[in-house]
Subunit: 408 residues, 4 copies
């Protein structure tokens, strides 16, 4: 096994703990809505992933750290056994935070052992699986930011994750790039890591179209609100309108008006709304209605992918230590995940991974929409042009944003 | 206005009443689940469509037949005003059945007048709208069959819509046709009628693939059940598995086992299950799981469309007066709507119709899947190769079937 | 068997049909909320009661009219077999109205036969059971009025059950009668008919108290509303406040404000609110909050019973053919059922009837409150001083009213 | 102010913290069902009670410890302001456990100051309110035991609150005491502390009856189960039967069968079921069905009160440090709260306390049933013969037991 992989393992595993460092012990336990998970659970689950799919799979006569953890920390792998119901992850006071960190330490030690002494005949298979495990852990790092934010939001004391004064910048002006389309390749091809849902590379026909140069701003979204956007059914998808009414949506998640002034809850505090910054935390329904109101549409995932292929992977990622999108930044990569007009489905000839790993992505290909490009809570080395993120059209707690597109 | 259109109007309007002829007065009122509507409501709603979008739109100083009907019989046109909640259509004991038929007669008379005396400058617009209204009414004729079937199913007395002995035929053997794919045109182009969601015609790339020669049968589906299909999570989409468990699904809708013998509820009675006949009334979730179990997949909508374009529009439709699919018939058109692996979304450059008519199709382009080809409850002249039907992945009361496909 | 009983049977059975005479066929089917039942079901259920508990019980080798009716028309007698779920009574389009009337006619004929030719050794048992069946049918006659009213209310066309101009009278002034209390007898004793829940007679201690001379009026209740009664939590029981908020109550059921004028929906039409008439259709929660706001309390059931024992059984009942309470009438009997501050529980040494008849009353002795005195929809010969009606504290569709009481 | 009261204050306040001593930090946060509250919340709420109703009320220009706590720690006092929704108490990760203990310390200091330096003119009012606050805190001590038990139960690791081997004793034989009844006094009279709902003392008539000499045992309850008690609708109240089916009850809460052996979850571990020990954690519905199956009934609250009046207040309380009921103990006081057949309603001439304190008890007098006598989690000095505890008929997480009664 290469030392590089072992070092990468240490680095990424360490990052998960570092993300939780600002938390009080009490914060580790919360599950504010069924979609979020307690930080403690995330820390245990990603560890369970290594124990189950590396140690159990590749170590002879492996003895589990603690047998019950297979039930507690299994997320959704039906082929691995039954699991704590998702809605009840917040009920796990035990194992304690200390015990979960002890679990992490023990598994890290065993993993170090595996990485050092693996049978050469298995080295490649192990390396591939470890790489998957590390990407998996990075996904949960994103979830940690998202979930911590939501947990804090539900607390009337509005705790601050990382006190920080955000810079105020001007928004760049929105321009349109015309793109030719044609019969193009989409999806991942190559030897480096990509999820199964990015494969195989395949042909797709794109019509000529235009892409906006930056994300839509809070100011632009506020104009939609003030123009009655949340009251005009004709702007909305039928399911979106129903959802909006049922949940009383009047703004994106995390907005709040006090004494005529708009505020936004961020991981850096409850701040006056920055009109120049990208609008964040809208559902697909809201993004779609906003685009219709704007006289535009949302881009297809292949349209965005082809733009991303042309660009260096730079932007506003977690290494900025700023966990809220900013005006005036390059926004194709990072900043906010961009809603696309593409439902999340299988590419032609899609093959899920073998065995339990096949449950990772394929079984979610229904009722969700693709988002592209990463966000300010994405690790910089976790994104690719072909990366497909996906959420339900009503989800809002993820760091989602809106890039407009239009037909030529 | 052409006499042909007036005659077509009379023919199609008459058919709706004919479909309801076997009903008892009591049957007109039922809404067995929120998805179905009472026959009485269908009869009123399609009439309201003509009154609202033809008479109101084209007759000067038009006086509504009865003002409250705009509330009662509006289905989902937010731009036309508020409406009786969908879930409460079954609470309308008034207007009575007699009053609804009187409403139909009155509007038919006014429509005859409009068709005869329309201002020539408006003739074309009126003809286009009437044609839309007639296609709309034909859609509701399908719904009448579907809804009556479900209403009757919920009644422990199991009423029979049309007593009839169904022929027992052998199933043809399943063969596979290899199809080349390539860069093809999809969608409707031309002057004859098509819904906005079938337009515009556009290019789509298809990989080489194979299509099954006939629909999957009850016998084949029973093998899936007996192989534990409803108990094996790994065969299912995550949302489908959740739904299956929550609703306790163990078979398609309308199947029932008594004393070890399988039965199926049909519009012609509660009959022993015909193993050679196409399996009907599965959800997308079940169709998808069955296809995975079979080692195949469901076809894309463009794959089916290209097959349909090659064939004459013949098959098992309502003119057969048999409202249940049969073995041994041509099944590309008619018989059962075929689930596709394509979410229902907008074609490139899709433009909804102007005004309220834009609410007809576009706003449903989220969370639903396309079905193709028509069914035995479809009027023979209501189907086209480009016709896109759509339902939620959990819906089962529509006449849906399964055609397998696979990659080459 | 006495001819008197046979004649009574005919009279009461006929009354049920007469109550339904103003209905359209379409009205027979409706179940507007889970608490109500379709008129057609009531007509069938009371008939099933005679078939099951008289014909099945006392006729040798009795052949049921139709076996499935035992499932369809059983209300809640677990000992008699399974039953159509209560919430799905509105889904019975079959049997049709005609078939239900045919069922009634057939059972009436068989009952006539039983009453004429009963074995003398069984005559007394049969007479007792028939008497119970007739009181049962009278209870359902009340339910018919209540349920028809609610069904009509949910229809935007607001049908009128019986067109009639209600007289406008002055309210009598409210005076207080001081009553001594002491160690008194409560409950029924004697040979004539009473339900098991009225027995046995037993001692109860009452403190001195005062009873209001008439029911509280719409005008008085409006003052409560205008004083913020529905916004002041301190006036409400905790469960009531929760319920009020969850359901958005701001007035009694059937009130509606249009252009600043209050209206009330009645079986005689949608009428301007008569401020002098008794307030009707409040829940226990509202009655209790109103009493607290008034500085009074609701009476105990024994307090009302002792007042009722002193009075002749006269008042506003169904023979008035006015199905809405009026000002200026004697209101101890009839007019509106009066909420009491007494939960519905068993009297000391209470014994439910033997067998299935034991399910009639006893199993409901939890979570409900007693109402006393009958209402304008009660048959005049159906009420007694000891009669205990009971509803859940949130129920509002029954004809309930408020009589205030206070401690001395 | 007497030093005795100050010392009592310290003792009882200290006990709350002592109860939480065995908890991990993680355990302080859990709310396993809406009825339970997190231990952290209990500790804050009882402190808020002293801050709000003593310090705010009696200290001039009092500055709140932290203004937001009035929202977070208000339970249900509508007159004091709005509050964190009950179902969301588990979402409070902040204040942290440390902050809550700091809050307790600060308020204790201020309370000590108040108790020492109170204006003599207010001393009596303050003493009365402090006494109420201490009884309030003792109630929450019971809730702490109940809630911790339920929280632990929901965790698959089944944490143990206090490891301890429970003694195994024989059950005493069940005998019946005949009691004469008559016109008796019920309720509290005197100068010492009692809640408003125990007052005023008033007359009540009791029939002669018999009371069981001890609580019903697990063995007796198991016989009920094995006789089909949970499958026989005729034994149950209608609401109870519905609830049982909906929630799938087959045993009391905390029972579990593994490999044919019954176990019970206790605060001392997951133990084999002790057949001689009193059956605990049944709902009213189950207690009532069991009594009916036994051919007996549950006692009235006045029947139990009169028995309790004759006995010294001794029994199995918290000072035993055993938090699970035992066989062979005196059980009239302590051990388990006994369900009565009496709905929780106001005594004649009941007057709630003035102001916000009036919300303490009165507004819950609907839909609940009275339990009597205290339990093994009740502080020995917290119980009286007239003490009325109350729970909803479906509640099971409280330490409830069954004493049978019967008519003579
Ligand atoms: Fe995961
Ligand atoms: Fe329609
Ligand atoms: Fe009945
Ligand atoms: Fe409290």
């Amino acid at each position: 096994m290469t030392a590089a992989l072992a070092s990468e393992y240490q680095r990424i595993r360490h990052t998960s703990a570092a993300i939780c460092a600002p938390l009080a012990r009490d914060d580790y336990q919360l599950q504010s809505i069924v979609e979020t998970s307690p930080p403690k659970w995330h820390l245990g689950h990603v560890t369970w992933f290594f124990e189950t799919f590396l140690l159990q799979a590749f170590v002879k006569n492996y003895q589990p750290f603690r047998a019950e953890y297979n039930y507690l920390f299994n997320s959704y792998y039906q082929t691995v056994g039954s699991m704590q119901p998702r809605a009840e992850r917040g009920l796990m006071s035990r194992p304690t935070v200390e015990e979960v960190y002890a679990y992490r330490a023990a598994i890290d030690e065993r993993m170090a052992d595996l990485l050092t002494h693996a049978d050469p005949s298995q080295a490649q298979a192990i390396a591939a699986r470890v790489t998957l495990g590390l990407h998996h852990e990075q996904q949960h790092q994103e979830l940690l930011y998202m979930d911590i934010k939501h947990n804090f939001w539900r607390n009337p004391l509005r705790p601050i994750y990382l006190p920080k004064t955000l810079p105020v910048r001007e928004a760049t002006s929105l321009t349109w790039e015309t793109r030719a389309g044609g019969l193009l390749e989409s999806g991942f091809e190559g030897d480096s890591f990509a999820y199964d849902n990015e494969r195989p590379q395949h042909k797709v026909w794109l019509e000529p179209h235009r892409l906006a140069s930056r994300l839509s701003t809070n100011g632009e979204y506020l104009a939609f609100i003030e123009d009655g956007g949340y009251q005009r059914a004709e702007l909305w998808l039928a399911d979106g309108w129903y959802h909006r009414k049922q949940h009383g949506w009047q703004t994106p998640l995390y907005w709040e008006q006090r004494d005529g002034q708009w505020y936004e809850f961020t991981l850096h505090g409850f701040e006056p709304l920055d009109l120049a910054a990208p609008v964040a935390h809208t559902s697909y329904y809201e993004a779609d209605a906003f685009a219709r109101w704007s006289g535009n549409r949302l881009p297809l995932e292949a349209e965005l992918e082809h733009k991303l292929r042309e660009l260096p992977i730079t932007g506003h990622f977690t290494n900025s230590n700023t966990f809220h999108p900013q005006a005036g930044t390059e926004q194709h990569y990072g900043s906010l995940w961009e809603w696309t007009a593409s439902p999340y489905t299988a590419y032609p000839r899609f093959q899920p991974l073998e065995g339990s790993m096949g449950e990772y992505n394929g079984k979610f290909m229904c009722n969700q929409w693709v988002l592209r490009g990463g966000a300010c809570i994405t690790p910089a080395d976790h994104i690719r042009p072909t990366y497909r993120n996906f959420f339900y059209p009503h989800d809002r707690w993820q760091f989602s944003g809106i890039r407009l597109a239009e037909d030529v």
